[in-house]
Assembly symmetry: C4
Homo-oligomer: 274 residues x 4
């Protein structure tokens, strides 16, 4: 429950007063748009922190500027920092497909940063896989406890399956398009459809997940997410908002699935019948 | 727990400064009232989102303007959008009893909307059933995990029953009035009364729930809610605030009932005695 | 987890701008003090709502103006209203020991209220018992699910007992003072002390709890709280802040005790040894 | 879930308007920096309260001014007060290594304080142990229910162990440096490393924990935390932000470990194999 915050009003846009006079004017102007990808990364990281998804510097997010002038620009949160406290000028800016680094927070005036050597999120090669293999507009990585618990309860299994839960309808139905040679959204999943999310094994170094993540993406053309056992989940979507919605819907289903498993309620109808 | 937000004060009304200069002046004036149904839908959707009831675009709400000049006007949230981020001008406005559409967000200046073809909530025929069959002032639909879990724990049963819990007293006692031919509130439920909420089976398409929802409303003249298995709950009330209170009280009872069931505590006294 | 709200600052007092121009000037002046009991009731009800303690109009709170000119003045929240949305002018004001009503929200200009016949909280006789029998400065009543669950797990028992948990030290050690003939605080409970809270049976009407609550207060001179089975808890303290702290500490212990019970961890050392 | 607070903006620093005109000008100036240790203690206590870690006056925090002119200055929250409501001028200021008290809240104008005799946190000798034995920059003490539950589930065991969970990588790898004779951070823990946190038994008086806490710190050169059975946890780090991140990561692991234990999932790989 949450008592209403009377300082927030319906229909009100944030009164933008960024204290960044130390920032170059160019960046001040750039970040004055609340919907700028760098601002959205900050906003969503605060939200994800509140959900216990990115505490302890865990997790990450990357947004491709699909609606901007150059849809090949990708913004990436830095590695190893408190996700709920990052600022728009702390992002890495990379251009696809060569992944050329256009801007790093290491060039920002020291007084605005944590004054140490920033590195892009360790998930970067995984995010890039989602961009290159799926044309994603954003990719979210969380350490959600529901995701981790579900992979523990499915020890030895390589798929999470659930069906016949209404929330499944928030997820996209994807199909390989023979003419474009791309995976494309052809609608939404139906109530009776079975959601299948592959589970890959964790590796000591996050970048070493790349091969198995790419393999999972290849083997599961219908998925919008990959679970990593004992680690968390990767979710992507056509835009940042779609990725956010898919991630919320999948986390809702994982939270419910953990409860169902502990209460010995089958997760899908075949299981029910068998 | 929630540390006090010192920017919110007791006794303070929200300082309304809607940034909607792109809106027609008429709508700006209309939405300047914080208690306007369209503003309340926005406020309550943010609250419901915080409760994990409408994440991933799930759930919905509709308010009838019972205290306005025309109590036949009904406001309905749009379908498939992030509920916590809707704006007052994104509502559908419909007039009862013909359900004539008076206004849609598709007429709103594009820069204020998500620039796509809005559709009214998929729950619309269900909301309309509550208005026509029960004279409701508002109808709330959530994907509450307590509601879904309870229907899973009651697999094969068509009723959720609970008694002898104080919170039951927040719910209305309803009775068919022979003279007015209407279901009317004759008081509040008592502590020892048994709350019975019908459970209907989910269908692939939300609108296909209409027949079974109407049948449940007809068969359970004492209920203010209908549970939908593997899906969520519909709750209505005489006004938006009554609907909100009933929904809170029922969700509290469902949350408690799930815990009771898992701890093998009987939900009602007969069960206890049998 | 909760991302920092950058609009709230350490060391900042709330900027008080109550929109109550329709209120008599006298009341406007009275409520301009953020620590006025009527303002504190509003602030704490919002906090309790966030904790799921007073949703669905449940629960209540009353504060005696122990630091004011007349420490016999008692403020009581109204009955049956949404606790997180009450305003300072919606309180009942009563003078002890005759419980003479000095002010009611029914005298307030209609546009500031919900325009219906207000009644003082149904818990009023229970609150009054705490004032008269214990000289309390405030009394809190919640429908906390941990309180309700614990009474269900202790079906047939008339006491909740817990020991050897650090949080017990937040609670007062009380003793009957032969010279003043009053129960007085002589310090804080120790880690190895056993906290004992009596459990009384619920009754159909809240006021009918008065006798058994008074009996429990009489029989348990060391308690600062009474649990009501299938209902919730009453907690009181020397001041509103003490009552708040005791209620938080007890709820923490009840939440932990429910988890311990379900995990089959004994609640107190004797139990452990037996 | 948490709906976005539109009054908070990405990239915006808090507009500092401390209402403390009764404070000496010197302190007003000192506390005008939002990153002052006294302000950070207030901010973090509000955050910890929201996490149910310091409710009921429980827990505490101390920060050493490692980046200030005198890195021997230590700020300590007062004892027995509501942690979410403390103000920067309510801190004790102590200088290492003699622990000379330089400032106490008892010298502050009465109208700004709770007007009673303040005492430094009962954890002070424990905090001091972390400063002297580990050169810590901050020390956090919480009554986290996950910490308490885990010590209860490990009754009779003196260590909490967990391995092969990604979040472990947020914790530091520590090693004794022969040349400096200090425990120093040599990197981060790896995914396959086993996190071992010693558990000490609680004592009636918090200061009596000092010996066993010091012994645990000595015996576990690799640890950044000590669990106290039936009580909570102490966590420290090189700076306040490191301490915050370690505490979040450890609490995440404890929360997960409680769930794993109840679901009979082994906490570490040896356990798994045995």
């Amino acid at each position: 429950m949450s008592a209403p915050c009377f300082c927030c009003n319906a229909g009100e846009a944030p009164a933008k007063t960024t204290k960044n006079s130390a920032l170059p004017q160019e960046l001040q102007d750039e970040f004055s748009d609340p919907n700028h990808p760098a601002n959205l990364i900050c906003e969503l990281c605060r939200l994800f922190y509140d959900n216990n998804w990115v505490t302890g510097t865990g997790g990450g997010i990357s947004i491709r500027d699909v609606d901007g002038k150059n849809p090949n620009l990708v913004y990436i949160a830095p590695s190893g920092v408190q996700k709920e406290r990052i600022q728009p000028w702390e992002m890495f800016l990379v251009e696809l497909p060569e992944e050329k680094i256009l801007r790093t927070p290491n060039e920002i005036p020291k007084e605005l940063t944590k004054s140490y050597k920033y590195k892009p999120s360790a998930c970067t090669p995984l995010f890039m896989s989602c961009y290159s293999m799926r044309d994603a507009g954003a990719c979210i990585h969380t350490h959600s406890q529901s995701a981790v618990m579900m992979t523990l309860l499915l020890e030895g299994k390589t798929e999470f399956e659930i069906s016949h839960i209404e929330q499944i309808k928030a997820l996209p139905k994807l199909k390989f398009n023979e003419s474009t040679k791309k995976i494309e959204k052809i609608g939404s999943m139906e109530y009776y459809d079975k959601l299948v999310i592959p589970i890959i094994e964790n590796t000591p170094h996050e970048e070493d997940l790349t091969d198995s993540l790419q393999e999972a993406i290849r083997n599961y053309p219908g998925t919008s997410a990959v679970l990593v056992r004992r680690h968390g989940i990767y979710v992507w979507g056509e835009t940042v908002w779609k990725a956010k919605v898919y991630n919320e819907a999948i986390d809702y289903l994982l939270e419910l699935a953990v409860k169902m498993t502990l209460a010995k309620v089958p997760l899908s109808q075949e299981t029910l019948q068998s």
